[in-house]
Amino acid sequence: MAGLVPRVRYLANLCSPARGPATGWPHVRSLGSEIFVCTGGRLVYVYNREGALLTAAYEFPAQVWHLELLDRRGALLVLCAGRGLYCLWLDRVSRQASQDAGDSASELPLIPVEPAACILPDTALCTFTALEDVLVTLARSPARWKMQLFEAPTPGKDPGLEAPIGEVELSTCTPLAKEPGGPPFLPVLCCTSLPGSRVPHSFVLEEGLFGLLFGADAALLQSPMILCGLPDGQLCSVLLKALVTSRWAPTDPQALIKILHHLEEPTIFIGALRTEPGAKDMPDMPCDCLVALGHHGRMVAIKAGRDEAGSLVPELREYCLPGPVHCAACGGNGHLYHSTPSGLCMVGLAPEDTLWEAEQPSRGPPSLPPTLCPASLRVCSLAAFCVSPQIPEGDTELLALSTKGHLMICSLVLSPETPHHTQAVTASVGHKIKELLSGIGTMSERVSSLKKAVDQRNQALKCLNEAMNVSCALLSSKEGPRPISCTTSTAWSRLQQRDVFTATCVLENHSAFSLGRGWALCIQVGPSAGAWELDTGVTAVTYTVPVDQLEPGGRREVTLPLAPGEDNTLGLPLTVACALFYSLREVVGGALAPSDPFREPCVGACLPSVLPKQEGICLPLSEHTVDLLQGLRFPGLAMLPASLLSPAPDPVDNLLGEHVEGGTSLRPASLRARYLPPSLAAIRVSAELLRTALQDGHSGLSLCSATLQWLLAENTAVDLVKAQALSSIQGVAPDGTDVHLTILQVAVTDLCPAGPLQTVEIQVESSSLASMCGAHHAIVRRMQAMVVALATQGGSSPPDLRLQYLHQMQANHEALLREVQALRDRLCTEDEAGSRATAERLLQLYSQLRSPSLLLL
């Protein structure tokens, strides 16, 4: 292949364009010495090559989707998104602003385009093509594409277009969805004709190929054909002469439209090439190869060939070019230029461009090459370009708009030997270096993005491996201390002028692996599974805290408030469950996402299908129950700071208290305390049992104070209790009611035949029934745990008991329980008055159940 040497000359700097629904569709067209450029927004710039300056900028009312020039009539036709077709008569408008011109877009005065210039208001128009005398438009209705034929506007007449002189509907297999930001791809329209017919704005196809593609009728009628490439990839042709219709002679789409091919990706470009060299004396040879190019680089080329018998047969080949393709154009010598994000490329379909010719038998005309080799032209990525018509033989000149917004001329000179010495080249050396640098820039950008993707994948794999190790370590260690543990403790602290009951979870990593990205500590705070949950409207709340890199031996502490209820009341007991969660999405998702810097949308849609259904791995660590005993505060213990001793007074209560006369502003709780007898419960445990359970760590203390310490072991006040060796304590529950714990030694006489039994009685007294119950429940829970622990140790045998007494007690309890059950059933069915009496009786029963004081031996 003869090396094409690009020479780039910058003309002007326009604002940066981009392709896509949000930013528009850049275009470059040339007419005489003027270049019309649209960068994708609402502006169309005019650049004069002779004067080397920008002469005008027209401001259209909406984003410009397409523009065409009618050179004989001197009109600029512009399609505005959602508005319709506008027509500017160049001789009229170009004069008015030619004086104040500059070479930069910012200095240029904008010429607003009047609404009166709209010649076809149609919000559904997507593209059009102009054939000097007629216009063909393509509009989308919800389910179909509608092609319409209009007479082109003429300068003297009424500015609007007449009614269409023909129309036909193209069916499409995919329904057209409505996108909010406009369609992601626009259809492509162009026109082709036979050599003799001299149709302007169309490319001329050789008769054989024309007849083969469009049929004998089209060839006989010598009708121009409209070629249409739809965003779904369908390529079809419409016989222009048959498009003329009337109310009484609607077109039959089946007779009119011929589907040529299906690219299966949005069509970006349709054009034609001359691949076989023509005779020297015939410069304007018709094209012998039709090409269409899709967005992702799929290209189809169609040529007419002859089979062995001499009949015409179509020769069709599909190729894959590097994509995504922004724009493309056909040049001379069988070259197709197309621009991708990494730069401008060229492929040659002429036989001399390809090496395969030797293996092909020389019989018959050369056909299409089996593969194409795209060659980079070392020109930066282009947003739009067109092939300049007036250029010397052999060379190609592209009028281009780079993706950075530079309007420039790329001259592609065929002679590879001379470029270094010519004067013209030295003049543009600076530009060339710039271009080279920009080429290097885009290449390095591409390399770095690829590298980034690879790194991301490696990282993800590493993370997955670590996660596997951690999971195995955690799941295999059923016995003994776990390699990764989480402990929970509670405390009162002051936050934002309020006392808050908080839980602190400490995550410790004793394993050999570190917890990296993707791991999170999930803490679920919810009502514990007990009888208590009946009246608490508390639902579980989950806190997720990412674990940022926890090395082996490291620890992480998380403190969170334990007031999940809406009214900020603490529904004790609570369960604090900790678990480790590993998010697959976070780790793998980023690595799987394809990265195309030019087209972001439609990427997100494919991701969830790649990931497994499960979003991650969950490893439970620990579960901790927070009960009332842990939530008690002890204002009577002087060493605590004052603020922590009693709940801070509610400002509203303060206000109320000041304004109510006579100091009668008592809170409901204190009212209750004054007028209702305090609730009381007691539990008796045999002293021996307790002594065995508490033998370690509590030596040298009386059994009573040791018991109290044991009960309050998880409370922050335990040190004070220990210091003062208390056996009775006055505390405040989280809801502000007082709770009195008293521990005495009592001898029980009538139970054991051997004599009085030494027991410890734990009394709970509170003005609030709820607090008393909470405390009682917490104590019982501890006792249960203790008994279970002792039973597993296989401790001392229980003393001799008077069984009858026990039987009596059990029978009493059973009778009471039966009554409770009956009353509760009644409570569901009774009316309000009745239910109040029942409730009172229930309360009595409950206190009876408690008061005979359970005895644990």
Binding site: P121, L131, S197, G215, D217, A219, K241, S311
Partner: protein, 626 residues
């Protein structure tokens, strides 16, 4: 302006509603002004602006909670919006179903009849809306109007089942009522709006009348196509009696004409067609129908005259009428397909009809002129005057050329025929198979034959006949030979590749191929005979009888040659065969040849066939009697 009106704070909501209602009235007036502007951009722009105005108002109202006073205005505006949008787009847009559904759900919300989770189907929604609308008498007129628009949409998309259910709901009759839609439409009496109501573009009663006419028209046309003529007739009468704009009346009269022609009353049909012609400017369909009636009556002169008028009528550029900005009858009619009696094609298609009818009825000079006009029309390359070629039921382009050449030969214009044939070959030369074996590879023997379209052979046949007419025997014989060369390489099933024409495959039947071969052989034989080479002639005639045994003309030519060569025995056998054949019913009765082939077949038809046969009978039987 409307958006800035604060709701419920500084101004009471009633004021806001009044403002919006004022805006609605103003938009309706603006649309009516636009209507009178005729076909112009300004009209279109005004109407578009009004449409946007209605859309904006609708958005405002939909933001308010659904109350009766809001809904009254909202229903009116949505009716105006749909009417104007449909009229501007000249058809119903699918997504308006959603808009209607939305407003109906809002109506139900006022009565708290809408279960939030439930998804209503359209039909059921209407049913429940009219179920509660008794409780909302203020909304009834507007609801009926909206129902009318829904009915129009369903009618235009042929969802007649839905339409019946809706109409029954509207009338309030239950299951016992008649299923006859026409009757239901007549019974439906939409309540009138009270005088102070917001303005509408079209009132519900007017819409009902439009629906009635459109339904009768559609039903009549459908029944006509299905062949139940009396029912079609009664429906069409109904349509003609209703509120009918002139262009629609012309159509109804034309279809009535078709219906009566098919029922066998051509005179009554003509009366309707004359009435249609008097009614308006759309002369095409009635003229075409008139030509069919005359053809049925056997009045060729009148038939051709109507066709000539048709061509003229279609040459007048299509002037599009300004549509009213309302739901009109035309909007609800089906678009005519090629099978419809209203399909009259374009000027070139009518011209083709005229030319071919002239050729078929033996008016060769006229036919030739018309064909030349037609070709000029079709091949005129000035862009703005495109003329579409005959559509698929008609011939493909090469066949039009062939018919033109045949007509020219019939009209004794052999020179012109030559020109037409050369033009055809010239324009398609690049598509024709290159035949290397003709000049290079003859010796090599069997080679796969290229596909060659049938019309290429036929062109050579016509060329030969033109040379015959000009007395150039050598040229004629060489054209016939070339024709035969192609014909024997064409296989009818070879329908794979190559540039084909849209209707070619249907005509490349075995029979057509056989007949063409027979004609070509007989023509060449006749030329040999004329130049005195009787043995060669005999060979061709023999072959022609072999390739197409059913063609009696070929047999007669063979018989004559045999007699001329004094081969009496063979002649007797052949004659006996021929006699036996004439007694048998004719084969291929179902096959109708392409028109050009029909003309070619007429060339080999001996004019004095019966006399010849009689002569044979006497001369051949004499020796046997002796």
């Amino acid at each position: 302006m409307t958006q800035q009106c604060p709701l419920g704070l500084s101004a009471p909501p009633a004021n806001c509603l009044d403002l919006w209602r004022e805006k609605n009235d103003q938009l309706v007036r603006q649309t009516k002004v636009a209507q009178d502007l005729g076909l112009s951009l300004r009209r279109k722009r005004l109407a578009q602006d009004a449409l946007e105005g209605f859309r904006g108002l609708l958005h405002n109202l939909q933001g308010l909670p659904a109350t009766v006073s809001v809904l009254h205005l909202e229903l009116t505006i949505i009716c105006n919006f749909i009417t104007l949008r449909t009229s501007l787009a000249q058809g119903f847009i699918e997504d308006q179903a959603q808009e209607i559904q939305q407003v109906l759900e809002r109506v139900l919300k006022t009565r708290e009849q809408l279960q939030p989770g439930m998804k209503y189907r359209h039909k059921e929604l209407w049913n429940s809306v009219f179920g509660v609308s008794i409780l909302l008498p203020e909304l009834l007129p507007a609801l009926h109007h909206l129902a009318g628009l829904q009915a129009a949409h369903w009618l235009s998309t042929d969802r007649l089942g839905n339409l019946t259910v809706l109409l029954k709901t509207l009338i309030g009759s239950q299951s016992g009522a008649s299923e006859d839609l026409l009757l239901l439409l007549k019974t439906w009496n939409p309540p009138a709006e009270e005088s102070g109501a917001p303005l509408t573009l079209q009132d519900a009663r007017g819409l009902r009348d439009v629906l009635l006419t459109a339904f009768a028209y559609r039903q009549g046309l459908q029944e006509l196509m299905a062949g139940s003529l009396p029912r079609a007739l009664s429906n069409l009468h109904e349509a003609a009696l209703g509120l009918c704009p002139r262009p629609v009346l012309v159509q109804v009269y034309t279809i009535l004409g078709t219906c009566l022609r098919k029922m066998g009353s051509p005179q009554r049909a003509l009366l309707y067609l004359v009435a249609a012609l008097k009614e308006g400017s759309a002369w095409g369909p009635p003229l075409l129908e008139a030509s069919r009636v005359y053809r049925q009556l056997g009045n060729t002169a009148a038939e051709l005259e109507s066709l000539e008028l048709l061509v003229e009528a279609l040459s007048i550029p299509h002037s599009s009428r300004t549509h009213q900005l309302l739901i009109e009858v035309e909007l609800l009619l089906p678009s005519p397909d090629p099978a419809s009696p209203l399909h009259c094609g374009t000027q070139s298609q009518a011209k083709y009809l005229l030319a071919s009818r002239c050729l078929q009825t033996g008016r060769a000079e006229d036919a030739a002129e018309h064909y030349l006009d037609l070709l000029a029309l079709l091949l005129d390359s000035s862009e703005s005057k495109f003329s579409p070629p005959p559509a698929p039921p008609g011939p493909c382009m090469p066949e039009v050329f062939l018919e033109a050449a045949a007509a020219l030969i019939q009209a004794d214009r052999a020179h012109d025929a030559l020109t037409v044939c050369e033009e055809l070959l010239g324009r398609t030369s690049s598509l024709l198979p290159r035949m290397p074996w003709l000049w290079t590879d003859v010796k090599k023997g069997t080679k796969e034959s290229p596909h060659c379209p049938l019309w290429v052979s036929a062109t050579h046949l016509l060329l030969g006949q033109a040379w015959v007419q000009m007395g150039a025997h050598k040229d004629a014989i060489s054209e016939f030979s070339r024709c035969l060369e192609f014909l024997f390489r064409t296989t009818p099933k070879d329908n794979g590749q190559g540039p084909t024409s849209h209707c070619e495959r249907e005509h490349t039947s075995e029979v057509t191929l056989q007949q063409l071969r027979a004609v070509a052989l007989v023509c060449r034989g006749l030329e040999w005979a004329a130049s005195g080479q009787n043995t060669r002639a005999l060979q061709d005639f023999l072959l022609s009888v072999q390739v197409c045994p059913g063609n009696q003309d070929a047999s007669i030519h063979l018989l004559q040659t045999l007699r001329r060569l004094n081969r009496r025995d063979e002649a007797t056998v052949l004659w006996q065969k021929l006699e036996a054949q004439t007694e048998l019913p004719q084969e291929n009765a179902a096959w109708s040849p392409p028109l050009y082939l029909e003309i070619c077949l007429s060339w080999i038809h001996p004019s004095d066939r019966e006399a010849l046969l009689e002569e044979f009978r006497t001369t051949l039987q004499e020796p046997c009697d002796l």
